[in-house]
Amino acid sequence: MQAFTSLTAVAAPLPLANVDTDKIIPARFLKTIKRSGLGVHLFDTLRFDPDGNERPDFVLNQEPFRHAQILIAHENFGCGSSREHAPWALLDFGIRCVIAPDFGDIFFNNSFKNGILPVRLPRAICDQLIEDAKLGGNARLTVDLGRQVIVRPSGEEIRFEIDPFRKHLLLHGLDDIGQTLQHVASIDAYERKRQTGQAWIPAISVS
C-alpha cells in the first residue's frame, strides 16, 4: 500500500449527495480479477453518454480536473456496496483523498485500506472547499495528514480529525494483515479457549 503523507493537488468539485458505489463504478465493470485498470470506468454513467462519448459538462472531463487527486463531495459519499472496486477505481484514476460531510461506512473503511484518505468535514466547509476547487489549476489544495490540516489556496488551514491508528497505518503505508499477525499469539490463545467453550461450532467440509 502506498503511504499517504502530504498531498498538494488539483481538487475536483463534485457537489452531489449520496454518490453510491454503483455510481462510482457500475456493477458491470466488476468482473476483474485484478485491482488495477478500473480508472477508465470511474463514474462511468456521469462521465460518458450511452454511446461512450465524454459528457463535456462533467467535472472530470474538464481541464485541469482530469488530473485531480482530491475529490470534494456532499453527504453520504460511497454509500451502497462493500465492493472494494469503488476505491480501486478512484485510486486507479489518481484520486488519493476524498473530502465530504460523511461517508458510507464500508467505503470509508475500504478507502484507508487502499491508501485513500477520506476526510470528514462539515457541509459548510466542504462547500467552501468546493468554491476553492472551482478556481481550477491555480487553486491547489494541500492535504497534510501528519498535521491533520487542509491548506486552502488562501493559506487558511482547516483541521480535520482522524483515528490515530488509521493515521499511523496510512502515514507509513502499512498493511493491516502484517499488523494483526504481530498478535498471532493472542489469536492462537483465543482459538484454544473457544475450542472448549464453543465446541458446538461445527467445522466445514463439503462432501
Binding site: 468482473k31 466445514i204 463439503v206
Partner: protein, 470 residues
C-alpha cells in the same frame, strides 16, 4: 474488557469475540464464519499468494459462485468470458488454498446469503463476514454479520480476524399486527423510508417488537438483509424458539447433545432488560401498507396507494435537486398514482426475497392468472434447495402456466452481472434490494416491492395493490 451492566445482543456477541483490544480502542475481532464468492475474492487470494500467506481456518470458510453465473442451463458452461474467468479463478483459488467449495452444479449451490442459514452454516451468537454488503441477512439468525471489502476478505483469510471498532446500538421496534397484504419487505421499506438511507450509519440495528417476533425466519432475513440500505453495518434479531426450530436438523447445524448445548448458550444471547440503545425508533405495524419505491434509493418509497411525490415539497434545495434527478432518471411525473405506472419486467428473487416462502407468495398470486402481454416475468430461486422444494410443491408449474420464467438459482437481475439485465429505459418491478441507477442494467428503472406485489404487477402489467386482486 467487557461492557458492564445490562448488555444488548450486539454487546454480548462483540464481547465474546474480542481477541485483543489495541491501545487506541480498535479490537481484533474473531470471525466464526467466512463466506466467499467469486466477485470480491480474486484480489484477496492474489494478495495472499503475493505475500506467501495461507488461509488460517479453511474449516471456518466456505466458497460458492453466485453473482455472475447464468440462470439458464448450467451444464452448457458460462458464455461470457469475464464471468467465466471469475468463476474459474475462484475454483482455482479454493483448490490451491484448500477452501471448502460448493460447485455450481451441486443442488446446495445458491446465493451466499440464502445458503448460509439454509445449510445451518450461520448460527446464533456467531460473527459472520462475507465480501458482500448484504451479509447483514444472517443477522436474522441472531449472529453479528456484516459485509467487508476485499482487503478485509484477505485479512480474514490470513488471520481469521478483523480490525474493528464497536458500533453504536440502535433498536428498531415494530409493534402490532401487520395489515392484510403487508409483508416483511414492506416493514423494512417502511423503516428505511422513515430513517433514511443514512439513518443507521455507525450503528448496528437490533429489530425487536412483537411484529418482528411474529415473523418467520424468511421474513426476518428479508428485514435484516436490507439493513445495509439504511446505512447500518449490521442488523440483528434475537434468537428464539422460531430460530432454534429453523436450525434443527440442517446440514451443518450442531447435532444431538451439541445442539442442546448450543441452544442453552443461544438462550443467553437476547438483550438484557434495561440494556442501553443509543437510538430507538418505533413503528406501528398497523400503519404499514404494501410499499413501492419511486426513486433511485430505497428510502424513496411510498405506499402503493400513494403517488409520485412532488419535489416542491422537499425540505431544502439539496433534497429538491435530488428528487428532481431521481424523477428524471425514473421518467416519472409528480402526482402520478403509483398504481398507474406500467412495468416491462418483473424480477422475483435475490437474497432479499429468493426463499421458498417468497416463491409461495408469488405463486399464490400467479395461480390461475396470466402474465400481462409485453411483460417479461422472471422467477429466480435463491438456491438449488429452494428450487427443488418449490418444484416438489408444484410452484414451478403454477408459475410457468401463468407465463413466468423459472430459472436456475443465483443473483441474476438483482445486479445485472449475468445475462439477465434490463435494457435502457425498461421499467422493472423487483423484489431485490437496490434501486440505484443502472443497478439492474444501464438505464434500467427499478421499483422495489414484495414478492406478492411483484407477481401482482406481472399479471396486470402495472404496479398494483395486491390487496385489490382479491
Amino acid at each position: 474488557m467487557s461492557t458492564t451492566g445490562p448488555r444488548t445482543l450486539f454487546d454480548k456477541i462483540w464481547d465474546s469475540h474480542v481477541v485483543e483490544r489495541l491501545p487506541d480502542g480498535t479490537c481484533i475481532l474473531y470471525i466464526d464464519r467466512h463466506l466467499v464468492h467469486e466477485v470480491t475474492s480474486p484480489q484477496a487470494f492474489e494478495g495472499l499468494r503475493m505475500a506467501g500467506r495461507k488461509v488460517r481456518r479453511p474449516d471456518a470458510t466456505i466458497a460458492v459462485a453466485d453473482h455472475n453465473i447464468p440462470t439458464t442451463d448450467r451444464r452448457l458452461g458460462i458464455k461470457e468470458e469475464d464471468s467465466r474467468i471469475q468463476v474459474e479463478t475462484l475454483e482455482r483459488n479454493v483448490r490451491e488454498f484448500g477452501v471448502p467449495y460448493i460447485p455450481i452444479l451441486d443442488v446446495r449451490q445458491g446465493i451466499v446469503h440464502i445458503i448460509g442459514p439454509e445449510l445451518g452454516l450461520s448460527l446464533p451468537g456467531m460473527t459472520i463476514v462475507c465480501g458482500d454488503s448484504h451479509t447483514s441477512t444472517h443477522g436474522a439468525m441472531g449472529a453479528l454479520a456484516f459485509g467487508i471489502g476485499t482487503s478485509e476478505v484477505e485479512h480474514v483469510l490470513a488471520t481469521q480476524t478483523l480490525l474493528q471498532r464497536p458500533a453504536k446500538n440502535m433498536q428498531v421496534r415494530v409493534d402490532g399486527a401487520l395489515g392484510f397484504g403487508a409483508t416483511a419487505k414492506d416493514i423494512v421499506l417502511a423503516i428505511i423510508g422513515r430513517i433514511g438511507t443514512a439513518g443507521g450509519t455507525g450503528h448496528v440495528i437490533e429489530y425487536a417488537g412483537e411484529t418482528i417476533r411474529a415473523l418467520d425466519m424468511a421474513g426476518r432475513m428479508t428485514v435484516s438483509n436490507m439493513t445495509i440500505e439504511a446505512g447500518a453495518r449490521a442488523g440483528l434479531i434475537a434468537p428464539d424458539e422460531t430460530t432454534f426450530a429453523y436450525i434443527k436438523g440442517r446440514e451443518y447445524a450442531p447435532k444431538g447433545e451439541a445442539f442442546d448445548h448450543a441452544v442453552a448458550y443461544w438462550r443467553t444471547l437476547p438483550s438484557d432488560p434495561g440494556a442501553h440503545y443509543d437510538t430507538t425508533v418505533v413503528l406501528n405495524a398497523g400503519d404499514i401498507a404494501p410499499m413501492v419505491t419511486w426513486g433511485t434509493n430505497p428510502g424513496a418509497v411510498v405506499p402503493i396507494t400513494g403517488a409520485v411525490p412532488d419535489p416542491s415539497t422537499a425540505k431544502d434545495e439539496a433534497e429538491r435537486a435530488q428528487m428532481q434527478r431521481m424523477l428524471e432518471y425514473m421518467a416519472l411525473t409528480p402526482g402520478t398514482r403509483m398504481q398507474d405506472v406500467p412495468v416491462d419486467v418483473v424480477f422475483i428473487g435475490s437474497c432479499t426475497n429468493g426463499r421458498i416462502e417468497d416463491i409461495r407468495a408469488a405463486a399464490a398470486v400467479a395461480r390461475g392468472r396470466k402474465v400481462a402481454a409485453n411483460v417479461q416475468a422472471l422467477v429466480v430461486p435463491g438456491s438449488g434447495l429452494v428450487k427443488q422444494q418449490a418444484e416438489q410443491e408444484g410452484l414451478d408449474r403454477i408459475l410457468l402456466e401463468a407465463g413466468f420464467e423459472w430459472r436456475e438459482p443465483c443473483c441474476s437481475m438483482c445486479l445485472g452481472m449475468n445475462p439477465d439485465k434490463l435494457t435502457r429505459g425498461q421499467r422493472c418491478a423487483s423484489t431485490s434490494n437496490r434501486n440505484f441507477e443502472g443497478r439492474q442494467g444501464p438505464g434500467g428503472r427499478t421499483h422495489l416491492l414484495s414478492p406478492a406485489m411483484a407477481a401482482a404487477a406481472a399479471v396486470t402489467g402495472r404496479l398494483t395493490d395486491v390487496r385489490e386482486l382479491g
